[in-house]
């Protein structure tokens, strides 16, 4: 049987698609780069990754312009059918701007670009995205962003991951990652694709990619 195909979206300004593709491979999937002007997902793709970067140069608002491209129509149909979608960093911003996830990502309270390893605490252990970890268990994943403060009503989502310790960016309730109420669309600001190889100090990020194939 061939590997599960995972669409890895690319917009003008996407940066982290190569790392995301390697992470998909690390858990046994087959990544397929997908152009933002395509109107359908690649044939046979059963899950979608929206990688990080600065799509459309973050013009207007981060993720705003990318969220209005044709491929998002295909992603919305996929999500409505229960298909899994993982948005990372700018991908999370795109999911919020598209309405697939509630809320919006605002500039960090410090107005600084922050880049460091973070401990993320599992808040809701009942989603597929954290590999069966219990509530309160910690995942070590780096983050690198300027607009990472999630703002919205947490009750419209399921809060999957929170920053442990001090709030790094002013995110409401220290939220690092959420799913929609159905649980099939996941967005987070930290970068699990940079935590999939022991050389990088953590393989905790693999759980999020494994969830795409489950």
């Amino acid at each position: 049987m061939s590997a599960t195909r995972v669409a890895v979206l690319r917009f003008p300004g996407t940066l982290d698609h190569e790392s995301a593709a390697k992470a998909v491979q690390a858990v046994g999937g087959e990544p397929v780069f997908t152009h933002h002007m395509d109107t359908e997902l690649p044939e046979g793709a059963t899950a979608v990754v929206i990688p990080g970067g600065f799509s459309y140069g973050d013009h207007l608002r981060p993720g705003a312009l990318a969220s209005r491209t044709p491929i998002l129509g295909a992603v919305k149909r996929h999500a409505a059918d229960g298909g899994r979608v993982l948005g990372i960093c700018n991908g999370f911003q795109i999911l919020c701007e598209s309405g697939l996830l509630p809320g919006v990502l605002r500039p960090n309270a410090s107005l600084q670009f922050i880049c460091r390893q973070a401990d993320l605490e599992v808040a809701d252990p009942g989603t597929p995205w954290t590999g069966g970890r219990l509530a309160g268990e910690v995942m070590s994943v780096p983050f690198k962003h300027h607009d990472g403060a999630w703002f919205g009503d947490p009750g419209e989502s399921r809060v999957v991951l929170r920053y442990k310790g001090e709030n790094p960016n002013g995110s409401i309730d220290k939220i690092a990652g959420i799913t929609n109420l159905a649980g099939n669309v996941m967005g987070l600001m930290p970068h699990p694709e940079e935590a999939c190889d022991p050389l990088l100090g953590s393989v905790d990020g693999r759980a999020l990619f494994a969830a795409l194939l489950a």
Partner: protein
């Protein structure tokens, strides 16, 4: 062609770190009378056809403003 001016501002009550940073800088520069500062954006649209203000309003709702955190106004100068 009609010029339409859209102003997008952070909603009252939503933290505006950019406005706060500008306020801090102005205060450090010696502008002792400075109060609250809010930073938004002005978008100039040239629109053809019928009801340019109405078209601009639709553009604001669909793209130009995120109404979770931003308010907008539409103005057609004389």
């Amino acid at each position: 062609m009609t010029l339409v001016i859209v102003t997008v501002m952070p909603k009252k009550g939503v933290l505006d770190p950019q406005g706060q940073a500008v306020q801090g800088a102005l205060s450090h520069m010696g502008f002792a009378d400075i109060g609250d500062v809010r930073v938004g954006k002005r978008i100039e649209l040239e629109i053809n056809g019928h009801d340019p203000a109405g078209q601009a309003d639709k553009m604001c709702q669909d793209l130009l403003a995120n109404q979770l955190i931003e308010d907008y106004s539409v103005e057609v100068p004389e």
